[in-house]
Amino acid sequence: MAYEASLRVWRGDDEGGGLEDFLVEVNEGEVVLDIIHRLQATQAPDLAVRWNCKAGKCGSCSAEINGRPRLMCLTRMGTFDEEEVITITPLRAFPVIRDLVTDVWFNYEKAQSIPPFTPRERDEDGNHRMQQVDVERSQEFRKCIECFLCQDTCHVVRDHEENKPSFAGPRFLMRIAELDMHPLDTLDRRRAAQDDFGLGMCNITKCCTEVCPEGIKITDNALIPMKERVVDRKYVPKTWLGRTIGRRKD
């Protein structure tokens, strides 16, 4: 049942590096992260890799497997042929620290820049009241495990470092949508979504949705509705008419 898999792993640091070949034992039911751990324990003790829960709940072990952004703990070795060479490289959209570990600070910076949740007052008895149907929309987005695979795959920033300052990426545009749909939040977040976080740069190719390990419909349920709400704000007929007439008067 056990066999030797051919692994090609990127090793190096911020100054450079390259792919190295390894033969590693694989047993039934194992995932890519198991094989990386075996590689560490037997052949490359200093191989750098981030991981925590090994159950698809924490979003730490993100990497690119044969060029596709994946969680290593949820990628079963059984999905590859035994003869296939499996290439594992660090996330391309972020600077490498060492081996498979990248500097994901970009994401934490974007998280910090989003205006925080600003709730309405509690009811008189000290409780908040919300209906299940109303919390479910934002609950979907709060399933996000912050693996940043969507950030890695999004073509707006993947090979466009220059877009990073003006674009928050799918994860954080979804966070803005989550707050906007939150039954208790009192801020109007539409202008900031468009002007400060680059919602307009998203052209809904759904790459983010495809790589999401939680199966969140980022594009359909967060980004598109948010775009519609931004448009509503800009072109609510009365406001729009008012502005247009106003301009003509000028």
């Binding site: 159950a55 698809g56 709940k57 998280a111 199966g215």
Partner: protein, 597 residues
């Protein structure tokens, strides 16, 4: 020292799980300059793995629930070995701690009236767990993380603390550690240090715990002169995955049983009916019919035995497997497929559905899961003052899993998330208060040089063993010899193996350089795991009875004299010393609660 980053704070919190973040938020709100130091990225702490919910007697589903009922359930679940005052504060304050999470953005599932919904769990008399599907831990960590960021609290991500630094007078002066990214040393000078480092599961082979659970806080506290209590009590969660081997130990939430899932052996029999202890007989259903009626009519029926406290269920599964009635891969069957339709299961247990589909290619809406016990939680931890979470060292505090006393000999499901909120807040409050009245002098260079030298030692040696080998041997020893069922001979053997590993660990070597080097990181975690394992094995050998998470084949059943005693661990040079200490006595007005039932 030149190769060193120095910071000065009022409060330094080690650990960014629920307890650490809640402590930091409180310390910050009290006006303390606060830092959080964590081994992983922010938001990845082990709290994300918690699935079921936060236990709090809010009375949203059962108005007859209240803190006294929750207190009673907690003490009975812990077989009365809990520190009564911790259990009381916990039951009284949990509802407020849950409500404030909503002010910070948490979105719990709702009741029809729009209030926070509450679900059933083992050992709780009423449906009491505030939850979000089966991913409550993620909701908790994200809420606290976002609050921490909104308040602008400094977070030092991917840093490991190797030493707690003390002044000449024995009080806390700060924490010393390194950045995992580049291996550079950091000093966080502060009069208050809060330990919130979680548990010890990585000393066991089959565990639901992540790599971070290496007992750092337990070990740092011991080395600083603090004491540990209840270390013999390790919770084996009854339902971990057993197949395939690479996922063995990963948690299957108790909510599966709370929502109607039943346990069966290879004969198809609901074996839990054969394992109802006298202690819980009055409140447990005797027939399958009564158990099934309970899900819809809780007032007129008693609870199914699948929802007995975790220690009872874990032992029962262990016995079934030993008797040859196990599932093909050495567990038992957990069946929800025959109990509910597929839509209901996917809605109530989305991450379990996902986990089995992805990791085991099992569709839980169509077939039963295979499950078995897994090392999940340590009840034991730093001995603290219930009001302030202060350890025996002035300036040192501990909250969450790293603290002991709250859960006695066995923790009820859902009581962990509430524990870390209640005592995280109390620790942050007391740490800030102490800092207000205390200043610390600069740490001397010689102290820093010594700490740096200790951390770099594995690089200086040649020809020693690799830390991965030693770690695997420790995990096997603890799993096989100090596991769910214990006997004196095996524990003595475990202690001999630990002694030998301690010698070998002093000689181990690491390859490579300081930047992001997992071999080096493990080499520094290993002494912590060895120290904690020694505490568990020694305390377990000392306690000659069976109670909660401690089962002795050679001393079956509880013994009255042990019901009033705690085993306390302290450091004795490089060894662990034990003392027996009387349990704090509950005041009469609380003791009455137990006479009624």
């Amino acid at each position: 020292m030149t190769d060193l980053e120095r910071h000065a704070y009022d409060v330094v919190v080690i650990g960014a799980g629920g307890a650490g973040l809640r402590a930091a938020i409180e310390a910050h709100e009290q006006g303390a300059r606060t830092a959080v130091v964590c081994k992983s990225l922010l938001g990845k702490a082990h709290t994300v793995m918690a699935e079921g919910g936060i236990a709090a007697a809010m009375g949203n589903v059962y108005p007859e629930d209240g803190w006294k009922v929750h207190f009673r359930d907690t003490m009975r679940g812990g077989k009365m070995l809990n520190h009564w005052r911790m259990a009381q504060l916990h039951a009284q304050e949990a509802p407020d701690r849950v409500r404030e999470l909503e002010d910070w953005g948490a979105l719990f599932d709702r009741t029809p009236a729009g209030l926070i919904s509450q679900r059933d769990f083992g050992g709780h008399r009423y449906a009491r767990l505030a939850h979000v599907g089966d991913r409550t831990g993620l909701e908790l960590i994200r809420t606290l993380q976002q609050r921490t960021v909104a308040l602008g609290i400094d977070v030092y991500m991917e840093c490991t603390v190797t030493k707690v630094i003390k002044q000449q007078d024995g009080s806390i002066q700060g924490a010393f550690g390194y950045r995992r990214e580049n291996g550079r040393f950091v000093l966080w000078q502060a009069p208050s240090v809060v330990l919130a480092t979680g548990g010890i599961g990585k000393s066991y082979k089959v565990t639901s715990n992540s790599w971070e659970y290496t007992g750092d806080g337990h070990s740092l506290a011991l080395q600083a002169g603090a004491t540990l209590v209840n270390m013999e009590f390790v919770q084996f969660h009854p339902t971990g995955m057993v197949w395939p081997p690479s996922v063995r130990g990963i948690l299957v939430t108790e909510s599966v049983r709370g929502d109607g899932g039943i346990l069966k052996n290879s004969n198809g029999s609901r074996f839990m009916f054969d394992y109802i202890p006298d202690y819980f007989r009055k409140e447990t259903a005797e027939t399958e019919e009564e158990a099934d009626r309970w899900y819809t009519d809780k007032k007129n029926n008693r609870r199914p035995p699948e929802l007995l406290p975790r220690d009872e269920v874990a032992r029962a599964i262990n016995s079934e497997v030993k008797a040859g009635r196990g599932s093909p891969h050495g567990g038992v069957f957990l069946d929800i497929a025959s109990r509910h339709d597929a839509d209901y299961i996917r809605k109530r247990l989305p991450s379990m559905y996902h986990q089995f589909k992805e990791l085991a290619e099992v569709d839980i809406t169509k077939e039963p899961m295979e499950v078995g016990p897994t090392c999940h939680y340590v009840m034991g931890g730093v001995e603290v003052d219930p009001e302030t979470a202060a350890a025996k060292v002035p300036g040192l505090f501990a909250a969450g899993e790293v603290a002991g006393g709250m859960h006695g000999s066995n923790r009820l499901g859902g009581n962990s998330l509430s524990d870390l909120l209640v005592f995280g807040r109390r620790a942050g409050l007391a740490a800030a208060e102490r800092a207000r009245a205390t200043t610390v002098p600069n740490v001397a260079d010689a102290v820093l040089k010594e700490a740096a030298g200790e951390a770099l030692a594995p690089f200086e040696r040649d020809g020693g063993e690799n830390p991965y080998t030693l770690h695997a041997e420790l995990q096997t020893a603890m799993n096989d010899l100090v596991g769910i069922i214990r006997v004196a001979g095996e524990m003595t053997e475990a202690l001999e193996r630990i002694e030998a590993l301690k010698v070998r660990a002093k000689a181990l070597t690491v390859e490579g350089q300081r930047p992001y080097n997992p071999g080096w990181h493990l080499a520094l975690d290993l002494p912590h795991m060895l120290r904690v394992s020694e505490c568990i094995a020694k305390a377990a050998l000392e306690r000659e009875e069976s109670r909660g998470g401690h089962t002795r084949d050679d001393f079956p059943g509880p013994r009255e004299e042990w019901g009033a005693l705690n085993v306390i661990c302290s450091a004795d040079g490089e060894d662990v010393a034990l003392t027996r200490q009387p349990l704090p006595v509950m005041p009469p007005d609380l003791a009455e609660i137990f006479e009624e039932s």
